[in-house]
Symmetry: C3
Subunit: 252 residues, 3 copies
């Protein structure tokens, strides 16, 4: 990834370049999409977000760029930017066909360096978005399932596990805010309290908390919830108001 920065700096000396995350598992488009959606809005207006979670590199998958209210995105057309686009007030998505911007020779295995980095530099330098290629409407949308209504609450799933092992769900914080006594149920039927923060429970105990990405997070205080509770992307999570039994420790 340092090479991509070299390419950008060659075209824009002194450019400010930030690594948003290196923690995305190779080829995991869904985790990449989640991390991008949680992060992009904390960057300055005009930022160009480049995404290289690209398992289909070299195939016929398209390269795309998008213009949103306050920022740009440059990425493979595999859905990785679609959740962010849905949220960011996107005004236009274009297929990148202006190959004269690319590094020559253009490899078929490292488009991050040869395609995305130079296009990002072009946009960051004030290049005209409209000149990148034709506008498209059929870019890939990642099916990000929303939570489903249940009798007493919602059934959602784990969207992402961060490097601390916290499991972030697709249940918005607002849906469970203000409702005292909400509980969390995992596959197998174990139930846990939903609190305000990690330290509402004792060392090693399980707690649901309103997460910093805007969604309910499942944590083990000073522990790794994903490992302790066997959670991974797609694990089912239910929340409901009321209820009686609450476990405190994982693994039972």
């Amino acid at each position: 990834v340092g090479v991509m920065k070299g390419v950008i700096l060659t075209r824009i000396p002194g450019a400010t370049i930030v690594d948003v995350s290196h923690g995305i598992p190779p080829g995991d488009v869904r985790s990449g999409a989640f991390a991008l959606r949680a992060a992009y809005r904390y960057f300055p207006p005009g930022a160009v977000h480049v995404v290289v979670v690209d398992p289909g590199v070299g195939s016929s998958r398209r390269a795309i760029a998008a213009q949103a209210q306050d920022c740009f995105f440059v990425a493979p057309d595999n859905g990785v930017i679609s959740p962010a686009l849905a949220q960011a007030g996107t005004t236009s998505v274009r297929q990148i066909t202006r190959t004269s911007l690319f590094l020559q020779p253009t490899s078929r295995t490292f488009h991050g360096r040869d395609v995305f980095a130079p296009v990002a530099a072009f946009l960051a330098d004030g290049g005209a978005f409209d000149t990148l290629g034709p506008e498209i409407a059929d870019y890939v949308r990642l099916p990000l399932p929303g939570p489903v209504r249940t009798e007493h609450g919602w059934e959602g799933e784990v969207e992402y596990c961060d490097r601390f092992g916290n499991a972030i769900t697709n249940i918005p914080n607002e849906w469970i805010a203000g409702a005292n006594g909400w509980q969390l149920e995992l596959a197998g039927g174990s139930r846990y309290a939903i609190g305000g923060c990690y330290s509402d429970v004792g060392e090693g105990e399980v707690v649901g908390v309103p997460g910093s990405s805007g969604f309910l997070e499942i944590a083990v205080r000073n522990g790794n919830a994903a490992r302790v509770l066997g959670l991974s992307v797609g694990s089912i999570v239910r929340v409901f108001a009321g209820g009686e039994t609450v476990n405190r420790h994982g693994g039972d």
Copy 2:
């Protein structure tokens, strides 16, 4: 952590931001404290050091900022900056209560992004330290045990294991400098030579060396001393002048 940089860059375009270390195990306040104390003094005057080793985030633990002779610190009040403060000639420590600087809404799980990053940007931009909140004297001090005098030398312990597996102790280089024939003794009674550098011994052999952080380091040449010798934070290390038996390889 990329998000924190976004927050800072939004407030100070073009700010210079450096990752000191990503190698601190999650929630390991003591290792974080060690790494910070070893690193802070190599940064330019006026640097603002932000620390997010924060297992108590969201609890009632305070957020603090400190002004030292040449730099600032912004961190949770869990002791992680206290060893650096003791060394840096700290002139004032304040609890951060000026919530108008925080990102809104302020999450209870990611103060790095919502509290520490904007406060650091404020200080880096020349904001007045005095306006952050009330001065405090009772900030948390980490108990960093010093070495104890023994009949023929010192008994200390391992403070930190770096990513190469070198085990850094709390015994200052100066205490064993100039004394020829110093030796190292680990739990179990194995003894090893103290040399000038890693390559004073053969491939795979154990050696004590004056470390780059200012403290005695236990290394295995081109190997991982922590793993080979079973060392971890808190392992007992003795040094003494003279003695006869010297092992050369770990694990015996």
Copy 3:
């Protein structure tokens, strides 16, 4: 490594510093050499490349600097920069003896911080290369074996495994370009197709592709080739035109 940036920024406020790679295994000079040679030419003219793959730190190994057509290198004299030097049109290599540039006291275990970083800052700031020390001709060359001609093609070896598990060989893309029907043979006699890109084969299948570093790469689509095929640095790889049997999956 953050500390090295601190040292550079102390001497050149606002310097642009890029991490090329943190993925080099500790002390692996050959992988470091490979990664550097693949990356250096993508950086702006005048860039100073600092390399700290330095298993011999503190020994009598020399510190060297090199001036090439478009850039500088600063590194230990252990061969890590020699493949890049061979390619970069190097005009001069000097032993670094101007100790007044070093940080004082100069540790014997962390020359990255105390020697290489300040010398790199000196060069990046326009300091005269000629003043670093005497010109030398006997700097260490890493023996990078080239592929050997066989009856129907070439026998080479794996030079580097990247973080996705792709195994990059020392067989140049050009040597197998344009020749339809080239195949790949690994130790044990398994044969695989050489294609244009990862997605020329199905999920989990093995393919040889012209790699982004300019050399033949062995990949498993959306998988880890090094692990699946048991490849590591030095593994033998044969390519040849024609042939009949082609396996598709690793491990059989």
